[in-house]
C-alpha cells in the first residue's frame, strides 16, 4: 500500500481539457511539456484520455455547450483525481466574465482543487499548480476508500 501511495505523487498523468480558452493558457500548458520545462521529469504525462488520467487541467471559460463535456470528462477520471483550473478564465471567467455565454469559473461546474491565476498562466505557475495538487492525493484517497466502502 505504501508503495502505491508513494507512487501516486510520482506519476500524475494529466488530461488537458480546453473548455473555451483563448489558447493563451493552452499553449502554456503545452509549453510545460516541451524541453525547456519538461514536466515529464515529475512523471507527468499528457495522456489525453480521461480514463487514464489523475489530474484534469482545465483552461478557459465554461459555456453551456462545453459544460456537459467538462462534466463528462471529469466523471470519466477515476479517483483519486485532482482538478487544476488554469488561468483567469478558468478561475473566474477573466475578461469574459460578463459575456452572455460564459459561466464564471470552472468551480461552478466541478469541484476545483487548485487555482492557477494569470493571463496567461505561466508554465512555472502551472507546474507549481500541479505539484500543489499532488499534495491533495492523500485526502482524495481517503475519499475514494470511503466511497468504496459505501458501495
Amino acid at each position: 500500500m505504501g508503495l502505491i501511495n508513494n507512487s501516486r505523487a510520482k506519476s500524475p498523468w494529466v488530461v488537458h481539457f480546453d473548455c473555451g480558452s483563448c489558447n493563451g493558457c493552452d499553449i502554456e500548458v503545452l509549453a510545460c511539456l516541451t524541453p525547456l520545462y519538461d514536466i515529464e521529469r515529475f512523471g507527468i504525462l499528457n495522456i489525453g484520455n480521461p480514463k487514464h488520467a489523475d489530474v484534469l487541467l482545465v483552461t478557459g471559460t465554461v459555456n453551456p455547450r462545453n459544460e456537459r463535456v467538462l462534466r463528462n470528462v471529469y466523471e470519466q477520471i477515476p479517483e483519486p483525481k485532482v482538478v487544476v483550473a488554469i488561468g483567469a478564465c478558468a478561475c473566474t471567467g477573466g475578461v469574459f466574465a460578463d459575456c452572455y455565454n460564459v459561466i464564471q469559473g470552472v468551480d461552478k461546474i466541478i469541484p476545483v482543487d487548485v487555482y492557477v491565476p494569470g493571463c496567461a498562466a505561466r508554465p512555472e505557475a502551472i507546474i507549481d499548480g500541479v505539484v500543489l495538487g499532488l499534495q491533495k492525493f492523500q485526502e482524495k484517497v481517503e475519499k475514494m476508500n470511503k466511497k468504496a466502502v459505501g458501495n
Partner: protein
C-alpha cells in the same frame, strides 16, 4: 530520408535544454508583469482603476476606504497602473502562485485625507 536523425543525435549527446524548475529559477525580465500591488497609503479611492480595468476585477469603495482586487480575475494588463493618478499601483515581477482557495485581496486604507474630502464637499 530520416531528416530528424542529426538533430536528435545532437540532442542526445548534448546537454538537455531543460531548466530544472523549481530547483533552478531564472531571473525575471525587466519588463515582466507579475502581480498587482498597491501602496494603500497613497490611494485616494478615486475609483479610476476600477473604471479603466477591462476585466472589472477591481472594486473600490470610497466610503469604506476599501480597495478590493480579485486576483483570479485580473488579467495583468497594467491598465490600472497607468490610470492611477497617485501612482500607488504597481506590477511586481513575481507571478502569483497557485492556491487551493480563491480569495479576494482586500486592502483597507486610511480614510481619505481631509483635503480631498474638503474638495468633494465643495
Amino acid at each position: 530520408m530520416f531528416g530528424m536523425l542529426s538533430p536528435i543525435l545532437k540532442n542526445g549527446f548534448g546537454k538537455p535544454a531543460t531548466r530544472l524548475y523549481p530547483f533552478e529559477k531564472r531571473e525575471a525580465f525587466d519588463k515582466a508583469r507579475g502581480q498587482l500591488e498597491i501602496d494603500i497609503d497613497k490611494c485616494i479611492f478615486c475609483g479610476m482603476c476600477q473604471r479603466k480595468c477591462p476585466s472589472t476585477c477591481l472594486n473600490v469603495e470610497k466610503a469604506a476606504s476599501k480597495w478590493e482586487l480579485d486576483p483570479y480575475n485580473c488579467v495583468i494588463c497594467g491598465v490600472c497602473v497607468e490610470a492611477c493618478p497617485t501612482k500607488c499601483l504597481s506590477l511586481n515581477k513575481v507571478y502569483r502562485t497557485p492556491v487551493y482557495v480563491k480569495e479576494n485581496q482586500i486592502k483597507i486604507g486610511k480614510p481619505p485625507v481631509k483635503k480631498t474630502a474638503a474638495k468633494e464637499n465643495a
